[in-house]
Amino acid sequence: MDSPQAAPSGPPAVGPAVPGQRVDDEPYLRVDDLRVRFATADGVVRAVDGVSFTVRRGRTLGIVGESGSGKSVTSLAVLGLHDPRRSTVSGTITLGGRQLVGLPEKQVRRLRGRDVAMIFQDPLSALHPYYTVGRQIAEAYRVHHPRVGRRAARARAVELLDRVGIPQPARRHDQYPHEFSGGMRQRAMIAMALVNDPALVIADEPTTALDVTVQAQILDLLADLQAEFRTAIVLITHDLGVVAQVADDVLVMYAGRVVERGSVAQVLRRPQHPYTWGLLSSVPSLHGDADADLVPIPGNPPSLIHLPSGCAFHPRCRYADRTGDRARTQVPQLGPAGADGHLVACHLPPDARTRLAAGSPSERRMP
């Protein structure tokens, strides 16, 4: 995620590529201090509040968090899909060197589906029920290849259906989404996302609506395609198992902010934030003690209109008392957490955190 050149603390520096550096080393997607706000009748919703991250081609970033943590809002911002009449987006989103925030809608539209494509959670509702699967794929292709004829677009759609492992692609091309099984539908959705060879694919909970066996197939497929096309992938999920399986880097979000980020090994093996601990101990482990209790995180995600003061997680944090008043009064900044590139936003003293992190989940439970 962070290139070694980037400063380990604070958001990564934005700027032109270092001369002489291979273009590939430059992250394809660079999000810096992204803020997304919605004005509602009840007040301003700070859905995303200062999020920064980068993704390079061929790499996968997992964004993890509960519902309402800002994962999906972040991804929609990267596609420029927020309605400017109802939301305010600030910060910078650089996609292959182009600044997206503030770009005219017409130009963003040219990038959408071509340079950056999206795979949605529920393929049944994300595909149009009244059009054949093939037509929807061909439509995605033709909008960015206006000179391509109907027949060539059809051939391309069939080719993609074949590529994502749909048997009898020519016949399937002319069927409707309701004639597909759940897994096949998600494959079709992936085919639609890949039809223009995008450099970046955002997958928003791509396996949540699927059977567990199909989940693994879809994740394998994504990994295969990524290896083939060197696609950068942003994988949004609440499933840490999925992250462990396919992601290279992880971003843990809470209440619109990044609370922890680092490589998968860093975040999942040596989690530094109490919220990440909570996420990890609420997931059953196949390899660990099957009798160990799953520990839910107490309380509910906070209202994004009236965020708790200081650290937004403090009302649900078992260790908030150990920071004195700071958890209630100061917003913790993302800072280095031991290993290189591993960042955490927590007031707990590093040694206390390391001690707690080293302990087993059951020890962490008892402060």
Binding site: R109, G113, S125, L127, H128, P129, V143
Partner: protein, 328 residues
């Protein structure tokens, strides 16, 4: 698709059969004797009885119904008292107007068709257009204006709107002639100028409902995942809203439109009365007033045919719009 059509047509036929039986039985259920109606005063009982025989009123009910149906399909001989030979579709003889009911219908049905069909086209375009635009511009002055328009349309009465239109365009500005019916084939311009106020009045009132319905439908559809997918593909707003959102939003509108148009073709009494046009609606009301049973039956039956046909058409449109319907 063919099976779907056959199934729908079969159930439509069944419905029409039920309506024809009911409207036929109404003939006998009503406390009116058609024969006494024919000669209101000083008819001797003997003559009345002879007429009853002649009309077949002494025959068993079933054979009377069969005769009526046969008349509709092949025509029949009604006897000299009722104009003799009555060609298909024979709907009987009216004692009140002294003509074959089918002749009356042939005269008034084109009037109703000429009122309703153009008005329906207008109100659908206006209503759906307004609804879609206000959904896309939700919260703007345009949306508020559209809501106000539809509130007015929903609360005003046709005879009021019609009277205002007549007062302004016919009697004050004198832009239009007094409404009248000229057959379309005779003179298209006079046909249109004589009916345009009726179209406008109907379209205004009906489009209000359609504007509200399509606005609500469109707003709901715009929040659907597949609309977000369409935008994420990089499609232009006209494609996203037209091809993706509107097609999904339009289905309930099609249903209501089918019912409304089918119902209106059976007669638009108030419109016809307001603009002094003699269509199916007024004919039906007049027939009820004067106890003209054959005409009542005919208008009921024809209205039912329109409603049933409209429903079949709606089903077919549904299947054309939504591929999932074809499976059922």
């Amino acid at each position: 698709m063919a099976r779907f059509l056959v199934k729908r047509l079969f159930s439509a036929t069944l419905t029409l059969f039920a309506v024809s039986v009911l409207s036929f039985l109404m003939f006998f259920a009503l406390p009116r004797d058609p024969v006494t109606g024919m000669c209101p005063k000083n008819c001797d009982p003997e003559r009345l009885e002879r007429v009853r025989q002649e009309l077949g009123l002494r025959d068993p009910l079933i054979s009377q119904y069969a005769g009526y149906m046969k008349g509709i399909v092949t025509g029949r001989d009604l006897g000299s008292a009722q104009g003799g030979r009555c060609d298909a579709p024979c709907l009987g003889w009216s004692y009140v107007s002294n003509e074959a009911v089918s002749d009356t219908i042939a005269r008034v049905l084109p009037v109703t068709l000429s009122i309703v069909v153009p008005a329906a086209v207008l109100w659908l375009l206006l209503g759906v257009g307004l609804g879609v635009v206000s959904a896309l511009r939700r919260g703007t002055w345009l949306d508020r204006a559209a809501i106000g328009f539809s509130l007015a349309g929903a609360s005003l009465q046709l005879y009021f709107v019609g009277a205002v239109l007549l007062l302004v365009f016919v009697y004050t500005l004198r832009w239009l002639p007094v409404p009248s019916y000229t057959p379309l084939r005779d003179d298209p311009l006079r046909w249109a100028s004589g009916l345009v106020l009726a179209w406008l009045a109907l379209a205004f009132l009906f489009s209000a409902i359609y504007a509200r319905l399509s606005r609500a439908q469109m707003l709901e559809t715009l929040s659907e995942d597949f609309v977000r997918t369409a935008r994420a593909k990089g499609l232009s707003p006209p494609t996203v809203y037209g091809r993706h959102a509107l097609r999904a939003a339009i289905t309930p509108v099609v249903t209501i439109a089918g019912l409304d148009v089918g119902g209106a073709l059976g007669g638009t009494v108030i419109t016809e009365t307001t603009f002094g046009l003699n269509g199916m609606g007024r004919t039906a009301v007049d027939a009820v007033r004067s106890g003209d049973l054959p005409t009542i039956m005919a208008t009921v039956l024809i209205a039912a045919v329109f409603v049933v046909l409209a429903n079949v058409l709606v089903d077919l449109l549904y299947a054309a719009i939504d591929p999932r319907v074809r499976l059922r």
